[in-house]
Symmetry: C2
Subunit: 459 residues, 2 copies
């Protein structure tokens, strides 16, 4: 067993700007009451039978019939009664038993709740699609629900020669243009950022939850630039600008636009974008960190050099060991994480488990994922669920029989450029340990003999 | 121009058990106020400026600054103010401007609202994923939100030899087994059923909206049957039984189970199934009509012959021209529909439009989709959005410039068995016109010179 750098899941020294000990306890409590814990919940319900009897649903479930043969169960109400009608809600909601599955803000991580983050509950999700109601949030000055009938997109150039015919589009005009639909992941460049400083946050939601995946629908930006008469010899960069108060602006190399991958997107998972995710229009820049997927997109400027915007100079840069900042490192490198079992979850007994997780690469498709249960000494190849798509999450699964002893669970992804996800040791050799952004190291979860799973970092 | 069998979109003779004239007007009104009509909505907003001024959002949008240079616009509030915080809702909702996009019941179609249907708003959807909140509903005795900690799945045989080791599973036990995730469409066998009787319902939502598509996660039923010691030589059929009051039971041939495609599913689009869709457990039977995807699944019985259950004898059978009923025709044949433009929508002016729609086949993948704008005289191949998956919706798109004249828009899908979606004439030659189920004929939308789109059936 490799040396473990302290039982990090407990985090007694939580920095003040992150989770408080109370916050951690809350996360643990929530994790333990999650969907993986039906049996324990049932026990709790049984001991609190008096309280539960007031619930129609509890009362409706099978109980031995009084005074009769104890082997004959009364049928539950749902097997004998008339249920709820259709269109109880024109837009449906999850089960009342799933309210624990929600996105969460990390208390104290940010100074305001408007310039902040909420994390997707990866530990509770299946497959690759993130339900739009659970998609992570990252706002720089809060979110808005902008009236699409009044929203406009302007295309202009840094000078009159680069864009010969500047144009302003209504949403209606954009939605009439040729559309494409594609599945892509979006990951914040700061995802897993706390781990640079060895702050092993307790759950997968907080360590990797600035990650989501959707089917996006929109118009290739290239098609619109063509309409505007762009001079592609000089116009080698575009600037995307958002309509919210943060005036978010990001430079995107024209090569990405010319590939046809960059979209003016209005659709997400079959419906319009959600307000928190940029309704009615955002950029989709596959493989690139989320900050470049400018929300509430109101303007595209074409220029002949990078714009060195605020969020490209002060933020989203990599502090290297030599003290210099590395800029414009936008592509999200190959990465993976085991979501089950993961920090904050509890294995209730020995036996069979399905190890499941997510892998992704900003460079292309996932070629393979290997899983270790002994901290990286031995590896087995996981099954990849299909479809395996370009710059998209890939779900992997692997059978595992837990013998009740401590285990160190890791996943290591390889993409179709043959790049292999690095260990922390390998990553730190190049990047040092003072970064915030672009941490794609192998994650380790310690399964303790008690069954409790903790976030640890192998030295 | 082929002969049109009356301007069917108007439906003056709506049967009493379907839409009333008032209901049709409502649908039309709703269609016209949909997202494709931003410009007209903007005009309405402008003429109702007094009322709109009360809205913070309306007030926040660009207006010329008073008394100043009319070319200098005041910035909208959302570009200057502080927006909403993260986790305003732990489970997010669509924009307030999208409340028109919802599932709808067809007034009068069914005698109760519990044994009824709600239709997915296909005309407003993008790509292939149906948001779970908009997934169509079909209940036989209403829906329930069943406590997963108390739900059980029993596996037994019609006799003791067919299943050697009958078992009862908790949800926790099922969710520990090896899982797979797959995208599949689900279509009610009665989808497009009203069109058999030439009742051209006004919108795509009501004509084709018993159709949805999700990423499902679950355990192959085969794996669980193996655990129970099934004798596959004798056990050639399984019966799925639901826990709701309708006691829904359906026979599924063991070949489908043995292929590994039939799933005990708990996950849908990344999260747990919704209560309306069978939470916490349903069958997924790819390519087969929705009724076989038994919801609230509580029991699987293995037997040596089909069960001739209520819903296999009285319902979901095809009345043939010779007066006999055809039984066990469960596979959904290759079909497609143009969702934009479609009935109830209005084209506001001539010019470019993106014709978009959905194609699917219960036999496999979609190979091609052809689109006609002249009622089937000339066809062009549409672009298929990737991924094109087995027994899954495929989104197609095709450029079209509308010249302002009447047009008859059709789509015709071909699957990878080389089966071609039939015309109504071809379908009726085999099936007659007295069926309810399994109508996969080519749909025609009439674009009138006014821009209004109507459902018509070519004779």
């Amino acid at each position: 067993m490799p040396e473990i750098n302290g039982p990090r899941g407990r985090i007694v020294k939580a920095p003040e700007n992150f989770l408080t000990p109370d916050g951690i306890k809350t996360v643990f409590r929530e994790g333990k009451s999650g969907r993986r814990d039906f049996i324990r919940q049932a026990f709790v319900a049984a001991t609190a039978a008096g309280a539960a009897a007031g619930s129609a649903l509890a009362a409706g479930n099978p109980v031995p019939s009084e005074g009769g043969d104890p082997n004959i169960l009364n049928l539950p109400t749902h097997s004998t009664g008339l249920g709820q009608p259709v269109v109880t809600d024109g837009y449906g909601k999850p089960s009342q038993y799933e309210t624990n599955v929600q996105r969460r803000q990390s208390p104290g991580l940010t100074q305001t709740t408007q310039a902040s983050v909420s994390f997707a509950p990866l530990q509770s999700l299946f497959g690759i699609v993130t339900p739009s109601g659970l998609h992570f949030e990252r706002h720089h000055q809060g979110w808005w629900d902008i009236d699409p009938s009044k929203h406009r997109l302007m295309i202009n150039g840094s000078d009159a020669q680069i864009v010969k015919k500047p144009m302003v589009f209504t949403m209606d005009e954009i939605m009439r243009l040729p559309a494409v639909s594609r599945f892509h992941f979006i990951e914040c460049g700061a995802n897993t950022g706390m781990e640079w400083g060895n702050v092993a946050v307790p759950t997968c939601q907080y360590s990797h939850g600035m990650l989501s995946c959707s089917e996006f629908t929109g118009v290739p930006l290239k098609a619109v630039l063509d309409m505007c008469g762009v001079d592609y010899r000089r116009g080698r960069f575009v600037l995307g600008e958002g309509a919210d108060g943060s005036s978010m602006t990001r430079t995107i190399p024209m090569e990405l636009v010319e590939s046809g991958e960059v979209l003016l997107a209005y659709g997400q998972n079959g419906e319009m974008l959600r307000p928190e995710n940029g309704y009615p229009l955002r950029l989709v820049v596959p493989g690139v960190q989320g900050v470049s997927w400018v929300k509430y997109l109101r303007r595209i400027e074409v220029g002949d050099k990078p714009y060195a915007a605020k969020d490209e100079v002060m933020h989203y840069v990599d502090l290297m060991p030599n003290g210099l900042h590395r800029q414009y490192t936008s592509t999200q490198e190959c990465k993976s994480v085991v979501t089950t079992p993961s920090g904050g979850q509890v294995l209730l007994d020995k036996g069979f488990y399905n190890i499941s997780g997510l892998a992704w690469s900003g460079r292309g498709k996932i070629r393979r994922v290997d899983v270790s249960v002994d901290g990286g000494r031995n590896w087995r190849s996981a099954r990849l669920e299909t479809p395996v798509l370009d710059k998209c999450l890939t779900r992997f699964n692997l059978d595992w029989v837990w013998d009740g002893k401590a285990a160190l669970i890791q996943s290591r992804a390889t993409d179709d450029t043959a790049y292999v996800q690095p260990t922390y040791r390998q990553l730190r050799q190049v990047r040092g340990s003072r970064s915030i952004y672009h941490n794609n190291a192998i994650q380790t979860w310690l399964v303790q003999e008690s069954g409790e799973v903790k976030n640890v970092q192998l030295s």
